[in-house]
């Protein structure tokens, strides 16, 4: 690992200031992603600003504004404490389940919500510094495009990058219409809708999301919704646990009698960002909550898929996973 300076910060202002004056500084939260990448020489900050002592750890009911009745989750709350929190378990069990599907208990105990949002891709070419990778070294090419691309995207990719976002938590947050709150060094706050937080690679795959250098994620807000009784997070992976998703599905339904009132479907492991299947969601509104409806919705969700040499299996797997996840909700 390259040498770096270790700095501490006690509040959001001092933390953002330290990044403002040093373009090569990065925040250190749980460290489970950034330290791994620094050991691999992929990330090369010359300063780490420890933000774990910031007080952004609350999980509480929102009492005013557009998300009133929903829940606000501090960016520095750990993944474990978020998934175990009674408010989250009661109102957004989909989020608890998605968090618990990720990594291991040890890692979830360390990982923070803000760090989870900002974790980087697990594309093996990104990790291997002797390989070309536009995300790590812009302009060097994409090793995966014609290489081993079994784990890669089938939606929204560009010729510059076909990586997927690895988070499980984020797939649930996309389905739940969450928003991300960030603040800059001047103390100004931005509220970004979750589906706009992460971006597609386009011509600048080095940028995973819309956060600017020095901006700090302070909280995630989830508006109230009627899905708590009918939601499921399904994760399909190479082994039963402790592996990244090949495909994952966050599914949620609101029903009236036997009919579907509204549906939410987000997919993980298929794109550079959590992928909302909005067409399939719209199709399901008003339909009976049956396997047959779910199959048709799954076809729609996978309609525009563009797979590569080694990941064509994700199209059929994705359809089946959607049907399976929706069946679990009824």
């Amino acid at each position: 690992m390259r040498p770096f300076k270790y700095s501490t910060s006690s509040d959001a202002r001092s933390a953002t200031q330290l990044l403002e004056v040093n373009p090569n500084a990065q925040f250190l939260a749980g460290g489970t992603n950034i330290l791994d990448l620094m050991k691999e020489d992929v990330e090369r900050p010359d300063e780490l600003v420890d933000i774990t002592r910031l007080s952004l750890t609350g999980v509480q009911t929102i009492t005013t504004g557009t998300n009133k009745g929903g829940v606000s989750i501090g960016s520095l709350r750990t993944n474990t404490e978020t998934a175990s929190h009674p408010l989250i378990r009661q109102q957004f069990p989909l989020l608890s389940q998605a968090i618990l599907a990720g990594a291991s208990q040890q890692i979830r105990n360390m990982a923070t919500n803000g760090g989870n949002l900002n974790q980087r891709t697990r594309c093996p070419y990104f990790y291997e510094v002797s390989m070309p990778c536009n995300k790590r070294a812009p302009g060097s090419g994409c090793g995966a495009f014609q290489g081993i691309n079994r784990m890669h995207a089938i939606f929204g990719w560009s010729e510059k990058c076909i990586a997927v976002h690895p988070s499980d938590m984020c797939v649930a947050l996309a389905a739940l219409d969450a928003v991300v709150k960030v603040r800059n060094v001047a103390g100004q706050e931005r509220v970004i809708s979750f589906t706009d937080y992460h971006r597609l690679p386009g011509n600048t795959p080095e940028k995973d999301n819309t956060l600017n250098h020095g901006e700090l994620v302070t909280a995630i807000e989830i508006p109230p919704n009627p899905f708590a009784a009918r939601s499921y997070y399904l994760k399909v992976r190479d082994r039963a646990s402790y592996a990244f998703a090949l495909v994952s599905v966050a599914a949620a339904l609101q029903t009236e009698g036997t009919a579907i009132k509204q549906a939410r479907i987000a997919l993980g492991g298929v794109a550079h960002k959590p992928w909302r299947a909005t067409e399939a969601e719209q199709f399901l509104a008003g339909k009976p909550a049956t396997e047959d409806s779910f199959r048709q919705a799954a076809e729609l969700a996978m309609k525009g898929a563009k797979p590569f040499e080694h990941n064509a299996y994700k199209v059929e797997l994705g359809k089946r996973a959607i049907v399976h996840a929706l069946m679990k909700t009824v």
Partner: protein
């Protein structure tokens, strides 16, 4: 090779010289670990130094041709970036000067001589380095030592009370929850923390109803498997690890699945 109980092993002059070099104050004075390393090497010497020395001789020969020292001590912290940190390890207060790059794992092993905690992958993928920090199991390979200021770390060395093993340690032995033992300290620390997580009512991915009132969780075998999935065992001792954890969790003695070879089998 058998050795006299107390006597020094027979060494050739070259081997004797190499051993002395290895045990020299220069090398051992470099870290607070020195004293322990020397004692360790002396014990090893009494047990079979000739083997060790011949191996090391090979290594040092190789190293010398490559123009390097046989033993490379951990790099000293650069005074410009070195950081002071104080935390508790197994109830004793420790104060260290570390390079910011040093992980908790390396500081335990290389600075404090607590080599019970193992380095498997160094990338968060195996769980061998699991320790308990402020009551929660974490990976010491992805924890920087500097971030532990004021925290309380429990390692495998801190689980036994006096001469009495922690119930989880005793259960691992009884149920033969290991073969090579490399993953075992991590497995045991993980399992000890798991007992507290179940008491606190923390759910897992296989918990049936997340909306049910959180209360202490009764762990099924599937729950134990899922919650221990962050600790890999290359020897595949999983069934016996599961038995050990199940016994401690239920607080009820259960018979182990292995048995000693019978006289009949020996005769065969």
């Amino acid at each position: 090779m058998m050795q006299e109980e107390t006597g020094q092993p027979d060494l050739s002059a070259d081997e004797q010289k190499l051993l002395e070099e290895l045990l020299s104050e220069d090398i051992n004075g470099l870290s607070p670990l020195g004293e322990q390393r020397r004692n360790f090497l002396k014990q090893v010497a009494a047990a079979g130094a000739a083997i060790l020395v011949s191996q090391l001789a090979g290594e040092s020969l190789f190293a010398h041709t490559a123009g390097e020292e046989a033993f490379v001590p951990p790099p000293a912290a650069d005074p410009a970036t070195a950081v002071q940190v104080a935390f508790k390890v197994n109830t004793a207060g420790r104060s260290l000067t570390v390079d910011p790059r040093m992980t908790l794992l390396d500081s335990l092993r290389e600075k404090l001589g607590l080599t019970g905690t193992k380095k498997g992958c160094d990338h968060g993928q195996c769980g061998a380095c699991t320790v308990i920090v402020d009551g929660r199991r974490v990976l010491s390979c992805l924890t920087l030592a500097v971030t532990c200021e004021g925290k309380s770390v429990t390692t495998i060395e801190g689980l036994a009370k006096g001469g009495t093993l922690h119930p989880m340690q005793a259960a691992f032995i009884k149920h033969d929850g290991f073969q090579c033992g490399y993953c075992t300290p991590g497995q045991i620390c993980s399992a000890v923390a798991l007992m507290a997580e179940a008491k606190r009512g923390e759910p897992s991915y296989v918990t049936a109803d997340l909306r049910a009132n959180p209360g202490p969780v009764q762990l099924s075998d599937d729950e134990i498997r899922e919650r221990m999935s962050g600790n890999l065992c290359r020897c595949g001792a999983y069934p016996n690890i599961l038995s050990a954890i199940r016994e401690v969790h239920r607080g009820k003695e259960t018979a182990q699945s292995w048995q000693f070879i019978s006289p009949d089998q020996t005769a065969e």
